[in-house]
Amino acid sequence: MNRLTRFLPLFILFAFVGAVAWRLSSPADEKIQSKMIGRAVPAFTLASAVPGKPGLSSKDLASGSPRMVNVFASWCVPCIAEAPLLAELKARGVAIDAIAVRDRPEDVAQFLAERGDPFMRIGADPESRAQLALGSSGVPETFIIDGKGVIRYQHMGPIEPGDVSALIKQWEEAR
């Protein structure tokens, strides 16, 4: 056995430790993007999540013009952070509907009273079924759906000030 092959296992160990150390220092992106982008919104019908506001069904999302669907919950803290930005999107002409995940009408009503209400329709999703059907893996998430009811874009996590222009652009492109 020559000298080089004798040290081969050691080199392999170093390579392995190096690979592990690299991944530990720069972890992979853990966001699980929905595979439904580019496909029609799956059929769902959700009852109204809050009195005085219509519920949401997949048919409402093929209305001829693009719509934004915000997946949120009153118990979700980052949803509070993105509320003013949803209001800004609405002010800039974006039509926004919502899916309230695992929520109670009184809690949704209180959340909207405190944080603002940019939504046209809000569907109640008590067992996360519509959320799972959309391929969404948490709250908050925001989908853009074109006039034909095809999912065009998914934003994961809270909308931050820097995301607004990208969302407007995606919404314009979905026209």
Binding site: R102, P126, L132
Partner: protein, 134 residues
């Protein structure tokens, strides 16, 4: 001071990012048909929780995992096969959601790895094995 802090902590309510709704009906309740429940349980152990990404939905306490268990049980009870339910989830979340990787060109190294490692081990030990036999 320390005593007061400890007491305060004892009675503080944790700020959990959880909803106030109870778990979905089939999240923790077994199906009445034992055969269906066995199929559902086996599938739940092979589906990955979307929230706590290292756990299966059978092991996870996350609410979304509970809702996924409910979804699996409802679909199995409605007559779907475990493969259909798995395919429905893979359609939405990709192969990532399933702990059973498909056999395809991309995953061939994964399936071949055990065999290659055994062969590599045998190669490393080849001299010793031969010597001992002699």
């Amino acid at each position: 001071m320390r005593v007061i802090l400890t007491l305060l902590l004892l009675f503080a309510s944790p700020a959990l990012a959880d909803s106030s709704l109870p778990p979905a009906r089939w999240a923790n309740e077994q199906l009445p048909d034992p055969a269906q429940e066995a199929r559902a349980k086996a599938l739940m152990e092979e589906l990955r929780c979307l929230v706590c990404q290292g756990q299966s939905i059978a092991d996870s306490n996350a609410e979304l995992a509970g809702d996924m268990r409910a979804l699996v049980r409802q679909r199995i009870a409605a007559g779907e096969s475990p493969d259909q339910v798995r395919a429905w989830l893979i359609e939405r979340y990709g192969d990532w959601v399933s702990y059973r990787p498909p056999v395809e060109p991309l995953t061939w190294p994964l399936w071949a790895a055990p065999l290659l490692l055994v062969l590599a081990g045998a190669w490393l030990l080849r001299k010793r094995l031969v010597r001992r036999r002699g």
